[in-house]
Amino acid sequence: MKRWEFRLSGTGGQGLITAGIILAEAAVIEGKEVVQSQSYGPEARGGASKAEVIIDTKKINYPKVVIPDVLLAMSPEAAQKYGSEIKEGGTIIVDSSFIENFVNEKAKVIKIPITKLAKEEIGKTFVANIIAVSALVGLTKVVSFEALKEAVLNRIPKGTEEINIKALEIGWRWAQEKV
């Protein structure tokens, strides 16, 4: 397997760091090498948020994304800030609930109304991150759906299994449609 570099971006409160951790833990379940990191704004809460995950079968030295294979952008600011940094032929998933008119010539741009789906199909916007990570895995197949599901179930609060599985399925389905 090649080295995969993911960048998940948006604003604080969208659960992107959790999404990154889930993706990384799914990779652990599959026995892959993985490094996850994140960047912070000033010490205070509420600003921009960015999580990065690198997955490989070889040992990972440099722990930061050099140029992402896959970018997830969940807010217009994030799309604006990170939208141009992408590997030639890479994939950009944008949350079309908020982001309009996004273009990038180098990459495949996949528009999914992630937050809308969460709101409309599940009724809880906080599962948007799960839809997103599922779509991202669905598009790249970097880990299996089963591993992802296990990782999600390990992380989430008790009692929310059902809606999270539903979110996973929505993301997966959208991804399959887009491939």
Binding site: G41, P42, E43, A44, R45, G46, G47
Partner: protein
Amino acid sequence: MRPDLQHLFRMEKLPHIWCPGCGHGIITRAIAEAINESGIDLDKTVIVSGIGCSSRAPGYMNFDTLHTLHGRALAFATGVKLANPELNVFVITGDGDATAIGGNHFIHAARRNIDLTVILFNNNIYGMTGGQYSPLTPTGKMAATSPYGNPENNFDVAALAIAAGASFVARGTAFHDKLLVNSIKEGIKNKGFSLIEALSMCPTSYGRRNKMGSAADMIKHLKDNAVNVVTAQKLPPEKLEGKFLIGTLHYKPYREFTEEYDKLIARVQKEGK
């Protein structure tokens, strides 16, 4: 923003970095309003702060502003004021900044009764570092470093300031904006150490962990549990259970440090001793 307050802000620095619903913005506005109404010389006004979410306030305010080190605002401010007693010196600080790492400078500035107007943004938590308990976090409350409930007792910071020597002490809240503005104005007028404890809300790092609901719920909590000192005097003790007092808690002007020092200089220069 109200146009008559805009000149007190660095408008180009807004919006601020505080979270949605953070009480600090409300208190900062109240300070600006108090300064505006008190008519002090804006060019001769310095605002000093430590480190914390609250301590970011001076960066948005249009004065000579000094964002110092965690806990040290009062020591820096003592230097500013003593070196040039002409300046109006304000200190903006948090509960952690003022009473944890800064506790010593706090009691000593109060002891000297040095002419500083101190606004302590009390959100009962270390907001900026993500919600560890502070000396003003009530016993039993949840915080990032008290996952089983805070085992420590908390200070009554107003009582502490009074015992240390402050000549003016008042308490206000982010809800009681007019009272807060008035307390700050009285603090400005008092020639001596003035503490205004301003109860704030931190929905992100305190409210959430302690199931206090939304920012709107938290501000209502401030509204519902405050009792004005004047009213309180007429109430039976049972009625005050679980409540806190707002208004002027202590006012007893006495010798102020920088004035005394100036007298000392005058005496030494005249009489040689």
